[in-house]
Amino acid sequence: MSHFDTSPVNPCVGVSFKPQYFADICLESAAIDFFEVHAENYMSLGGLYHEQLRELTRTYPLSVHGVGLSIGGTDPINALHLKRLKHLCNIYHPVSLSEHLAWSVHDGIFLNDLMPLVYDESSLARVISRIDQIQDYLGCRLLIENPARYIKLTKQTLDEPYFLQQVAERTGCGLLLDITNLYVSAFNLGFDPVQYLTDFPLQGVEEIHLAGHSKNRLADGGQLFLDDHGSQVSEEVWLLFQEVVDSIGSKPTLIEWDNNLPTWQGLCLEANKAREILEKSDFLLVSQGEYA
């Protein structure tokens, strides 16, 4: 697998690719540094989607993001799925391959959503062993993403930053920090997102995700945030993004937009906001000062 052409002082901004954007992307050379696709949408044998992706990857680096490996699951890892993922990587040579700290398969049933893990020593050992197995088979490193959480699970003995730090340290995988997921989880579970970032192994972050979320009213009068990837990134998430960038510099950053899609121009505007923050980050100023 090749790598992102980036450094802490070079902005690298990508967007989720959708087939309906293809014509616009071909018309004008986009100020986009990479595209990300969902692995499971490109596991068919041929046709339009592959033709578009072949064309796209002639010009742009590709990041592949999966939901089907079920890193936290207890079924054996689906060998066919792993084989298809390897095939996809062999064809398109993505610069990044990521999955979620969650489970999505059980008893052979694919749940089409990411289920939360109880963070304890036994699930930590399981996740580490499964990531080892996957990385060995694929012959490349994974990035593991912090999930959006909606419910506080009892019996949890470890916190998420520690869990991810252990996973990264013991498997050699990288981390994908989804700042919207962090914000959504912090609200839903009632913790401080800034404290989470203090505890998080930020040095292991190799990609950042930003997305829109929705606010939903519960029958008991409470509120629940959902990472529905269906709107602009919220102001609160941009502020957290700024904090992260000030702390660790520029990282490849993706605007993730999967539902209620904007126009191509609208998506590019959102990507430009991320680029501006990366370009003006304190980290960049400090680094330039150091080099002066």
Binding site: G47, E51, G68, G72, L111, N112, D113, S122, T154
Partner: protein
């Protein structure tokens, strides 16, 4: 979360009436409903995308209700959502409230064929020269590897007209015209083309799909369709880019 807890969690996702879970506080039960809804709604949405004609024929609300039951009984077994829904035609055949509408299952089969066609492997197809370079005797005893995107759907109902009426807003077939139809789906320049065939043409292709020779396909087609014309059928094999290689 160990395996047993995940088993309970999944059972509760698909069957909310089952025993409440102990993995979270009772007052948080409403938050668990979010997972139930996400899964059921996302799977129903995926079926809505895959079966547009069926959605129109049943009406959106009724389709949603049928899909909800289908999803609960037939959750996906692959993370590739383009492959989800292959059991829906069989499910519809066994769905008693719809037994008076037996054509629905075959319309669903046609929609599945279109999806399979859209995602099938790419392949270079044979040219006219590949055919004319062989003697007629050699051709007749040859069999063919067909275009991987080719799908044939045969029904006792007018599924092409039914499908077409819903997607292209044409009239629903009249009862007097209610007869079986044979349909092929084929991808050309990555666009799925859906066409009605004559009976002979369908039998011809079906025989070739089974790996039998051109002569056997010709005989099978002529036996049921006196109007079948081999020269025209060969022309279609070339012009419609239906063949990938000749085995002789």
């Amino acid at each position: 979360m160990n395996r047993l807890e995940q088993t309970h969690w999944v059972a509760a996702l698909f069957h909310p009436e089952k025993a409440p879970l102990t993995m979270f506080a009772t007052e948080d039960a409403e938050r668990f409903v979010v997972y139930q809804n996400n899964i059921i709604v996302s799977l129903i949405d995926s079926l809505v995308d895959s079966f547009p004609a069926l959605v129109q024929l049943l009406g959106e609300n009724y389709f949603h209700a049928v899909a909800r039951e289908f999803v609960q009984e037939n959750p996906p077994n692959s993370p590739v959502m383009a492959e989800y829904g292959t059991q829906l035609p069989g499910y519809l055949e066994g769905f008693l409230p719809l037994e008076m509408l037996p054509y629905l299952a075959d319309v669903a089969r046609l929609e599945l064929a279109r999806i399979a066609c859209f995602h099938a492997a790419d392949s270079a197809t044979l040219s006219a020269e590949d055919f004319t370079s062989l003697s007629i005797e050699a051709l007749l005893s040859a069999s063919f590897v067909l275009n991987p995107s080719l799908r044939l759907v045969v029904s006792e109902h007018p599924i092409f007209k039914l499908w077409h009426s819903q997607i292209h807003d044409s009239p629903i077939p009249a009862l007097a015209d209610w007869r079986g139809e044979e349909v092929i789906c084929l991808r050309r320049k990555n666009v799925v083309i859906t066409k009605q065939l004559q009976l002979g043409g369908a039998l011809f292709l079906k025989t070739l799909i089974n790996g039998q020779t051109l002569e056997e396909a010709w005989k099978a087609a002529s036996a049921k369709d006196p109007g079948f014309n081999l020269t025209e059928a060969l022309g279609s094999l070339v012009n419609e880019q239906l063949t990938v290689s000749i085995i002789y």
